[in-house]
């Protein structure tokens, strides 16, 4: 079964203070944190950031191993940019011999700091999705985008699209599985051949899948209409987002920490 391997949004249930915080707080803080991480350049501030992010992971109760696994897909980018830094930064060479001549101390330090910062950005971003259910995340995004309606951002529509996509991912995965089995029963081969051949063998799966997705979309639109859906205006929500003590605590902690970092980085 394909659908058992994929857990959408990678939410990990828990009851930590980070789990309990409002999605809006978490979204804004993780965005702000990404900017802050890029602003920090000195060795010590990067080190302190690392400690802070690791502590946040520990508090959230998300297994550290799981968090580090999230780095895997982006490992290539991290390694590549580190190498680029190592070889392009000018400064004192590590040694006079040929291969080491091109590597500088400054480059090594730059590469280290950069990779750590990239890793931190990914970890703090995934901490958001680890501790927030996709539904709450969607709600949070809708609420945050709401003020932008004035300049024509379709906040409600975007959120509704995300939420319907989330709703239908398991349904479509199930359907893909069913179609693949049906095609395999008629002799289709998905597992052998080179990459191009395998991609080609997916065409008979994708065509019926698309046709059915369109039919589903039409059915769903009719069903939504018959249940009085008429866009976002005048619509209320069952689930109300509320800021609590958890939010205040988290915001204050981050603010104090960031202030300390900024002073260290720019005043000293």
């Amino acid at each position: 079964m394909i659908n058992t391997n994929i857990s959408i949004g990678q939410y990990i249930p828990g009851d930590s203070i980070i789990h309990r915080a409002d999605p809006r707080t978490k979204i804004i803080l993780s965005l702000a944190f990404m900017v802050i991480i890029f602003m920090m350049n000195s060795f010590w501030t990067v080190f302190e950031l690392t400690v802070f992010v690791l502590m946040a992971v520990i508090i959230s109760g998300v297994p550290l191993k799981h968090t580090l696994k999230g780095l895997k897909p982006l490992l290539l980018i991290i390694v590549f940019s580190a190498l680029l830094n190592i070889f392009t930064t000018k400064g004192t060479p590590v040694a006079e011999t040929v291969p080491l001549k091109y590597i500088t101390y400054e480059g090594l330090i730059m590469a280290l700091k950069l990779s750590v910062r990239l890793a931190l950005i990914i970890i703090s971003g995934s901490l958001l999705t680890f501790t927030t259910t996709p539904i709450l995340l969607t709600d949070g995004i809708e609420k945050l985008l709401n003020p932008l309606k004035v300049i024509g951002v379709p906040a409600h529509e975007l959120a509704m699209m995300m939420s319907i996509a989330l709703r239908f991912i398991p349904t479509l995965l199930e359907e893909t599985d069913k179609i693949m089995k049906a095609q395999a029963a008629r002799g289709a081969d998905f597992d052998t051949g080179n990459l191009l051949q395998r991609a080609k063998s997916f065409v008979p799966v994708l065509v019926p899948l698309f046709v059915s997705a369109f039919r589903r979309a039409e059915d769903l639109a009719t069903a939504m209409e018959s249940r009085c859906y008429r866009g976002g205006t005048g619509r209320t929500r069952l689930r109300q987002l509320k800021f609590t003590h958890a939010d205040i605590k988290i915001v204050l902690t981050v603010l104090v920490f960031v202030a300390a970092l900024l002073i260290q980085e720019y005043m000293w």
């Binding site: 709703r167 859906y229 209320t236």
Partner: protein, 290 residues
Amino acid sequence: MSLDKSIIEVKDVSFVYKSSNADRPDVTALSDMNLSIREGEFLAVLGRNGSGKSTLAKLMNALFLPTSGTIIVNGLDTTNEELLWDIRSSTGMVFQNPDNQIVGNVVEEDVAFGPENLGIPPEEIRIRVDTALETIGMTEFKEYAPHRLSGGQKQRVAIAGILAMKPKCIVLDEATAMLDPIGRKEVMRILRKLNTEEGITIVHITHHMDEAGKADRVLVIDEGKRVIVGTPREVFSDVKRIKKLGLDVPQVTELMYELNKCGYNFPTDILTVEEAIACLKQSLPSGKEL
């Protein structure tokens, strides 16, 4: 609850699907349909594929507007666009495919979808959602993702979603067609319960004759025209005519019909197994057990 007041009034309604292709003719789905659905009744609608059943259902929910004639739902004319949301919240609709009508990511969120659209305050929505889930017996599943439910459970959630809008009437457009026997039974039980306990009018379009046999009245449509209306007994007793319309009669009714063909003389309007047993018992020589 008076059975005399009509909740849906269909007057001389015709509906034509306009063809977008000039080479193909327009298709008349309904012609000169007249029907009065009484408040609190359980009406089953039968008809072969393409007979116009689904079109009739969609007209009752103002998803389609009649080409000619009028439809009055709960005292409101469906052609009046200002009344659209009142009409749709007073007659809810359950569709055939359980997967394609659930909007929410969690059961309770889906049940709340209708009331949310109506702009009802959150506290009130909470009460309505909890009551609706209790009525259909799905309270323990309220945090479930819809794809983890069975077909019958999904259809019950869809019914709850309509209940939360506090409707007077529920129209089911072949809602049991994709369900297994257990799911069908679940849905029928809920429908009966809503009909008798809450006085909600049920219009149930179905292919299953045993379900139609349990209704108060049966409407048979063919080629867009009303053919027969009557109690299940009246309708199914004319086995020949029903078969001619491409439909079946409940299995026991058919059994008695076939026995009568062999020279027996049983009543023709038998709908349940119990009735059939009683009749067969009577025809046995006295003293013998069946």
